[in-house]
Amino acid sequence: MSDTDPRSDDALLAAYASGDQTAAAPLAQRHAPRILAMAARMLNDRTEAEDVTQDTLLRLWRKAPDWQPGRAQVSTWTFRVAANLCTDRLRKRAQLQPLEPEQDLPDTAPGTLARLHASQRRTALEDALQTLPDRQRLAVILRHIHELPNPQVAEAMEISVDAVESLTARGRAALARALAPRREALIHD
């Protein structure tokens, strides 16, 4: 999947709103993967993450006629919508299911651990992410995996930059504690 369209997001949205049938595909190719990645890590459920992705872009299509260029970035706006949709689903999930007991990560002595490959590091991180409170998890995902600068994370989460810094600091500390049993293996190549 590749996007070679040279037009900016604002130009594509304006073209889409004007009836250009070639404008939707590059927008979807640019933003669907990012939204899906964020939603998948927030919800830990591929099917729900795909629903959030479709929902988010549906809202973008509906917003297109009223989109004001330069007021917000499409990337940040879609992250905000997707984050709110994820939060709604997590709240409903919490209401329907009792809290599960915390699952301990396997306790392996550093001297007996084999080197972990990148996929295992990713899995360990994704497991650890699920132990974080929702807003810490979202802040860490946007800041450290999607590498958004703090002001964009603040805009996506509709909070202040100071709040973002606090959430990411606490989130990193919590992740470090959750990953501590695997630390010696995780820092090796």
Binding site: M1, S18, G19, Q21, A24, P33, T53, R121, L186
Partner: protein, 122 residues
């Protein structure tokens, strides 16, 4: 007289010794190790993001087609043509001119409907 009184470099030696790596606090080294571990994990997550399926992209494409505004200039031209035609008929039959503003506001579906198509794989 003390060593410091006779040897001004004694303080300097003590200060330099304090800068050796083994004087770094354990807590700081622990934080550095934690940061290294986290950065490795974040890097792995960025390198292998989940990819949207073809079915998901097809659903998104379908939504885009269904919700795309009709070409405004085309719609305006069609409505003008319809209004002119109706006005001509009314004049020809000796009747009053229709309310063209209402005609313009009517939701005439004059554009062909789109068949659902899956996005071609790239």
């Amino acid at each position: 007289m003390t060593d410091r009184d006779t040897d001004p470099s004694a303080d300097l030696a003590a200060d330099l010794a304090a800068l050796k790596p083994d004087a770094v606090p354990d807590a700081l080294m622990a934080r550095i190790a934690e940061d290294a571990m986290l950065e490795q994990a974040f890097h792995a997550a960025r390198a292998t993001p989940p990819r949207p399926s073809d079915l998901l992209m097809a659903r998104i494409a379908r939504d885009a087609k269904r919700h795309q505004p009709r070409n405004r200039s085309d719609t305006g031209a069609w409505l003008t043509l319809v209004a002119a035609g109706v006005a001509g008929l009314m004049i020809g039959f000796g009747g009053a001119l229709p309310d063209t503003f209402s005609l313009a506001q009517a939701d005439y579906d004059l554009t062909p409907s789109y068949d659902f198509e899956l996005l071609a794989e790239e």
